[in-house]
């Protein structure tokens, strides 16, 4: 039995164990999720991060106040003009402590002034059209639809803290039918929720998922408008059409802002996950990626490791200077143009490419390629003693900073005892 066969069998057993472990762990994850899912909604699923989802279909309304349909005619100003207090109609408002409470006046409350209609005695004529707008043959065909706001809110607590109706809803004396326009805006909330009078934490009002992040969508409703930074409340993170390309700036500058809504999974969906191949690298990217790499259009290193991902594939294709190199010096398939490297009086084009974008070099070459010429002649891997350091490197702060922290790198080009190791 050859060593190769033994190794192959061992690898096979190793892969089998890995698959078994993977299966058990996946089963546990699914099982636990299903168990908790069935047990009372402790968990909330997150939609995989994709660009189409970010800018996908959406229904009307806002992420905070879903679209309402109120097929009624009503005049707040008229009612207030009669001296009626708000609580006369909104009877349960003083005890309402959650946003899911239905605080619209019921028909029975209206009946106290408008006569019995809910239910209507047989002797009483129907006057549905006095308030309801959608009727057919004297019957109401549409009822009020007002989904709960996606907020955490207690009327009771706000009234107890001294607020009144006008504080949040404004002057209703000139308003006919109240719509979402009469619901408080974030700006008006922040006049009190300033971090001193009341908490300014986002999760004070906006619902949070079970993982502690802000719920950017209403559960898994994919056409509910998402709570995304926009305009004046975006802190520089407006999720516009170019945000996928530009998000690195604000992500580095204010990562805690991102972390309020996104967890690690959201990042890895694209950066280390399965979403990117078809979306970011559409069509024949295998052919065109070289252009992007040289132009630095997309930062390859944000997802790919040069010395593994890129190098492995390139060397298998015969690039670089490995044992299977097919595109090197002397080959009819030579990859780099004439003058790329050579004796001292040659154009040395490779030097400038390396200066400005060494990542493209590292995607095909290992350090050995550089050492062949750049190492000093007496080093462990002798080269041609051509210094790649920029002007004034010796005796510079940059040289001493590197030498003091990591002498191993110096020894790759300079043998022990070489004064250049000490920046001399």
């Amino acid at each position: 039995m050859t060593r190769h066969t033994i190794t192959t069998r061992q690898e096979g057993r190793g892969q089998g164990r890995s698959a078994a472990v993977a299966g058990v762990m996946l089963g546990l994850a699914f099982g636990t999720g299903l168990y908790v899912q069935a047990g009372g909604g402790l968990t909330v699923g997150e939609i995989p991060a994709t660009a189409p989802v970010t800018h996908g279909p959406m229904r009307g309304g806002s992420p905070v106040y879903p679209e309402q349909d109120i097929p009624l005619r009503f005049n707040h100003g008229q009612h207030l003009g009669l001296g009626l207090a708000c609580a006369r109609c909104h009877t349960k408002i003083g005890e309402s402590d959650k946003v899911a409470d239905f605080n619209f006046p019921t028909g029975a409350v209206c009946d106290s002034c408008h006569g019995p209609q809910h239910p209507r005695p047989a002797t009483e004529p129907a006057r549905c059209g006095q308030c309801h707008t959608r009727l057919s043959e004297g019957r109401v065909t549409a009822t009020l639809r007002a989904p709960k706001a996606n907020l955490q809110f207690s009327h009771k607590n706000h009234l107890a803290a001294g607020a009144n109706c006008q504080s949040c809803h404004g002057d209703m004396s000139k308003v006919r039918m109240a719509t979402v326009l009469q619901l408080p805006s974030e700006a008006s909330c922040l006049t009190c929720h300033d971090g001193r009078k009341a908490s300014s934490r986002c999760a004070t009002c906006h619902p949070a998922d079970t993982n502690g992040k802000l719920a950017t969508r209403s559960f898994s409703d994919r056409v509910m408008p998402a709570l995304v930074p926009r305009g004046k409340s975006s802190w520089g993170a407006a999720h516009d059409l170019a945000f996928v390309e530009d998000h690195r700036g604000i992500a580095k500058a204010n990562p805690s802002l991102c972390a309020q809504c996104h967890n690690e999974t959201f990042c890895t969906d694209c950066h280390a996950g399965a979403v990117r191949p078809m979306r970011i690298h559409a069509a024949d990217y295998m052919t065109t990626h070289a252009l992007d790499a040289r132009a630095n259009t997309q930062d390859c290193q944000s997802c790919h490791r040069m010395q593994t991902d890129c190098l492995a594939c390139h060397q298998r294709l015969g690039m670089g200077d490995g044992p299977d190199a097919k595109f090197g010096v002397g080959s009819s398939l030579r990859f780099h143009p004439i003058g790329w490297e050579g004796p001292p009086d040659s154009p040395q084009s490779h030097a400038f490419a390396a200066q400005r974008n060494i990542a493209t070099c590292a995607s095909c070459h290992t350090e050995d390629s550089c050492l062949a010429c750049h190492a000093t002649t007496s080093a462990a891997m002798p080269g041609l003693n051509v210094s790649p350091h920029g002007p004034g490197f010796a005796a510079s702060m940059r040289c001493s900073a590197l030498a003091a922290r990591n002498h191993r790198v110096c020894l790759k080009c300079h043998e022990p005892g070489d004064p250049r190791n000490e920046c001399l």
Binding site: G45, T210, A253, Q301, R408
Partner: protein
């Protein structure tokens, strides 16, 4: 956790150095990407994480096994400390994305790399967020005595793999209309400012937005790598984006981009570049419509200069059906390209994509996407992609 396997030719055994690299990547099919215990706002002061975690910030985007803690103190300040083992080639389940780069095949690649860091940040201010942080990753000889170095000696000399300081800030001024932000990182090992990002967002109204972004980077490698020595001139990128929403469901955007590549006369041979400054420029425009069940997005772009020329566009659509649980995706994408280095790489590529994204249950999604492609070099090519995602989270107490 991520399960991973590539059934394509990429994992086919080879007989060269590349094969070893391929096996190094795909021999590990189970990645624990992050797994940590987190506490928030304990005693209204303390946050912590314990376990495998990753941080994205002005410092870097990296993973480590260890602990992180933040204590909020008066005067809107918070103190951070973190430490552990950096996730790199030594970790069984290491994620290649976060591994240090540039030292493939050396003993240092297999070394244990403890790391520690600290930071000071602002908290609780409505108009500014800022942070200064420091991190040091090193491979001490004392914990790497069993490694056989390249020269055959036992044990690895101590060395610092990374030592960086970062500063970042984000502001929110004029009622949110003006939002400047920036981050910079000083690499103490190379003595270079190797990452600078500065942006300014002006939200004139809720419908009109202008963003300017400047990026300056030097490729970063492990300090064990000589590649750091070659990276002399930073790459710079300046971008400008304007977006308007004339109607709630319609967005229009125009953007421009300028990239700067500089070259210096070489110190040793005194060779001068043909051009000391080379430019890349480009721009694009986008329009998007978002309806109740249908959305579409049209993009067009062009890029030229350094690297070559690319011009193309795409049309994306998503249609929701089956009570919004099933999304039907369609996309057509086309690009014309012309490589400035080799004339052989000139042509076009057109791709048609069709797929769906189904919500099977809360937190469980199945995405399938097929692509048919026509290019200068392929009369036809097809690929199919599928992803099953399960995402649940648990919390002891709200």
């Amino acid at each position: 956790m991520r399960l991973r396997h590539d059934f394509g030719s990429y994992v086919r055994p080879g007989d060269d150095r590349a094969a070893r690299l391929v096996n190094a990547i795909d021999g590990r099919q189970i990645d624990v990407m992050f797994a940590y215990l987190e506490g928030e706002n304990l005693g209204n002061r303390v946050d912590f994480k314990l376990g495998r975690q990753f941080e994205f910030s002005g410092l870097d985007w990296y993973a480590f096994d260890g602990g992180w803690a933040r204590v909020r103190i008066p005067a809107h300040l918070a103190l951070e400390a973190f430490g552990g083992l950096q996730v790199d080639g030594t970790a069984v389940f290491g994620l290649p994305t976060f591994e240090l780069d540039g030292t493939q095949g050396t003993a240092a690649d297999r070394a244990f790399s403890p790391m520690f860091g600290a930071g000071v940040s602002l908290w609780g201010l409505k108009w500014i967020d800022a942070r200064v942080a420091y991190r040091r990753t090193f491979s001490p000889a004392s914990v790497n005595r069993k490694l056989v170095d390249d020269d055959g000696s036992l044990g690895l000399p101590s060395g610092v793999d990374q030592e960086v300081v970062s500063a970042s800030f984000a502001g929110n001024f004029a009622g949110g209309r003006v939002s400047p932000y920036g981050a910079l990182r000083m690499n103490l090992g190379t003595g270079r400012l190797d990452d600078v990002t500065a942006g300014l967002q002006l939200a004139f109204t809720q419908q009109h937005l202008l963003r300017a972004l400047y990026i300056r980077t030097l490729p970063i490698f492990d300090l064990d790598s000589i590649f750091n020595v070659f990276a002399l001139t930073p790459f710079e990128d300046a971008r400008l984006v304007f977006e308007a929403r004339p109607m709630p469901r319609i967005s229009l955007q125009a953007r421009g981009q300028m990239r700067f590549f500089r070259s210096e006369t070489t110190a040793a041979l005194g060779t001068s570049p043909v051009k000391s400054l080379q430019l890349g420029a480009g721009g694009g425009a986008s329009a998007a419509y978002r309806g109740r069940r249908f959305s579409g997005r049209l993009d067009g772009y062009g890029l030229g200069g350094e690297g070559g020329t690319r011009a193309g566009g795409s049309l994306d659509t998503r249609t929701m059906v089956w009570w919004d649980r099933l999304a039907l995706d369609a996309r057509i994408y086309g690009v014309y390209y012309r490589d400035e280095v080799t004339e052989a790489r000139r042509g076009y590529s057109v791709a048609l994509q069709l797929g769906f994204n189904a919500q099977l249950w809360r937190g469980i999604h199945l995405a399938v996407l097929g692509e048919e492609m026509f290019t200068t070099f392929y009369s036809q090519a097809f690929r199919l992609f599928g992803a099953l995602t399960a995402d649940w989270s648990f919390r002891v107490r709200r």
